[in-house]
Subunit: 331 residues, 2 copies
DNA sequence: GCCTAGCACTCTTGCTTGCTGACTGCTAAG
DNA sequence: CTTAGCAGTCAGCAAGCAAGAGTGCTAGGC
């Protein structure tokens, strides 16, 4: 790949991203300052086509990049510098302090989507913690309790517990006491052992309930990462085909798919396109980066769009937002 | 409105819901067992049009219901009986116990969307509680703490607190103790008064931090209802026009709009269509019902779709699911 | 050996036209 | 009040046509 071919390819991808249309040899000529004729560009295009970087949708049309063409463009083009207004907007967002964690993350996804005009995903910080730090019981119905568990790292689960027998409200406080004494400041494994002692202090009827509650606590061990999706309405305009919109919406709904796409990337920034995302023939690109420094405060932010997304700008924005979030959570 | 006109109108709406197309006089004849000719039906249709129940998209087309026509249909038609398989599916869902509150609500919205094929919304239970029941501090960064607050009713907020000075990990436990002693088991108003006493026990540097943390606790008072939206991918197929899909997606993203549409309804089942939802000329219908018995465990479940939604079935499904959720949370 | 002007060829796109079929409204009679 | 019959209207579809955009190829120039 010589210099001119590279320039032609990058100009072509740039232009295709801008217009969404096949790009003609003349358009490339206008966008570059190569001192050659359109016929020369056409020769280069033919070579690029032979190498699999571009294709022609039909004989008398311009070229559009293949997935390989996009890949080359992404790997060789520098991220854009953001306009001062945009940088300022991001800085302001993270300057003004956000009080509620969930709100911060939700609004971060909205910030990303506002600036990039693509749907955005934020994966919440890990907050993985083995030890139980707090435990609270709330009675919802005669047979139903809500048990709120807080781990040492700040992870919260709200467990529902259905009791075999009705319970009086004055018993709830006593049960809570018993559970707090036997579970708090212990890992779940340790707690299980400690359990055998706890029931002895309680009336016979309540011993069984403690066991039920403790079982519920055990179950909550699984890490549940929180996911914040913003800007789904954007995608009505991004993909022409309504069936593609449907597909992407479905993807955004399935938390597991999103985690696989975004969550399983190595630390740092990554751009994945089309087939690299698993399913073939998928007009999708995902730009993501990690935030946070230790496992408690770290997660990922991501933006997704069609393959012809504005990578230069989007990558920059995602990185800036990732840094802002890092500062907010761990400085 | 005589009997035959009512029958004609209801048959027309039924058929329009089924096909989405304008309904001709002949089609109505085939769907009803009226012993009249199509010309008679045409006369009735002309009368219904004069009364504003139906309109003709163009001269030589059948009729489609107006918003008033839909309203009449909804108010006079009985909900459908569900197929045994569907009823069983709902029962099974609520029989198998769900351990995590957030999961239960999320999956309930998915159940609704699965059965009805429309997007669904679940508004979480109130869980409003004034008194602070638990408080936990977690250190995220040198200047950032995460404070988890649990109210008496089980409501959880995760407050981020930025400190003016760096903090050592051994101080966190002491701060937590101080806050627990002064805030737990008090309402936020009472806590504010109690605050003046707490700092005396602590080293000078930490007194200011306690004040900062207490301020954060005060701020979290605002009730934050949780919203679970499922089945957004459905709407790619429900509305023809992509700009409508865009509009509805936007609506589903704005929690405030959803709360206004769904949350502000009186207890029981309600069906709102088009203009009744605020903005005019809006092809939208919302079927919702309340669940739970007291303020702690009660919220709403809702389904939304185009005005030509299958009301008879949808109303039934929403009500059954609402009842199931009520049992799960408050029996 | 690389570049370029010129030209023939291809294929999409948009427009027009005409036709068919679906419904209605109206009229006059039962 | 109902109905048979008929004329009138309009959307939807397909075919045909012209214009325009863009390429590939060839032959000649540096």
């Amino acid at each position: 790949m010589d210099d001119r071919k590279a320039a032609v390819l990058n100009a072509l991808v740039d232009e295709h991203i801008r217009t969404g249309q096949p790009v003609s040899s003349r358009a490339i000529l206008e966008k570059t300052n190569l001192n050659v004729s359109s016929a020369t560009v056409r020769n280069d295009l033919a070579a690029l086509e032979a190498d699999g970087y571009v294709v022609q949708p039909h004989t008398s049309a311009g070229r559009i990049p293949t997935e390989r063409g996009f890949r080359y463009y992404i790997d060789t083009t520098d991220p854009a510098r953001l306009r001062a207004g945009t940088r300022e907007r991001i800085n302001e967002f993270f300057m003004s302090f956000h009080h509620e964690l969930r709100n911060l993350l939700k609004q971060t996804s909205e910030l990303l989507t506002d600036i990039t005009a693509y749907p955005a995903v934020v994966i919440g910080p890990g907050l993985v913690g083995e030890k139980i730090h707090g435990l609270h019981l709330v009675q919802l119905g005669s047979h139903v309790l809500l048990m709120v568990l807080v781990t040492e790292a700040g992870q919260v689960t709200q467990e529902l517990v259905r009791l075999p027998t009705a319970i009086e409200s004055h018993q709830v406080a006593r049960l809570e006491d018993a559970l707090v004494r036997s579970l708090v400041d212990r890992t779940l494994a340790e707690a299980r052992e400690a359990l055998d002692d706890a029931p002895r202090e309680l009336p016979a009827g309540e011993a069984g309930i403690v066991a039920t509650l403790a079982d519920a606590a055990m179950r909550s061990e699984a890490e549940t990462r929180e996911l914040y999706v913003g800007g789904t309405s954007m995608l009505a305009g991004l993909w022409e085909d309504i069936s593609k919109v449907h597909f992407i919406l479905e993807l955004l709904e399935r938390e597991s798919s999103l985690m696989k796409l975004v969550g399983s990337q190595p630390e740092g920034t990554s751009v994945l396109i089309g087939p690299e995302l698993g399913s073939n023939e998928l007009d999708l690109a995902v730009v993501s980066t990690s935030y946070g420094v230790d496992v408690r405060s770290s997660g990922r932010v991501a933006v997704l769009g069609p393959m012809r997304m504005n990578y230069r700008r989007t990558i920059r924005v995602v990185e800036e937002v990732g840094e802002g979030l890092t500062d907010s959570l761990s400085s």
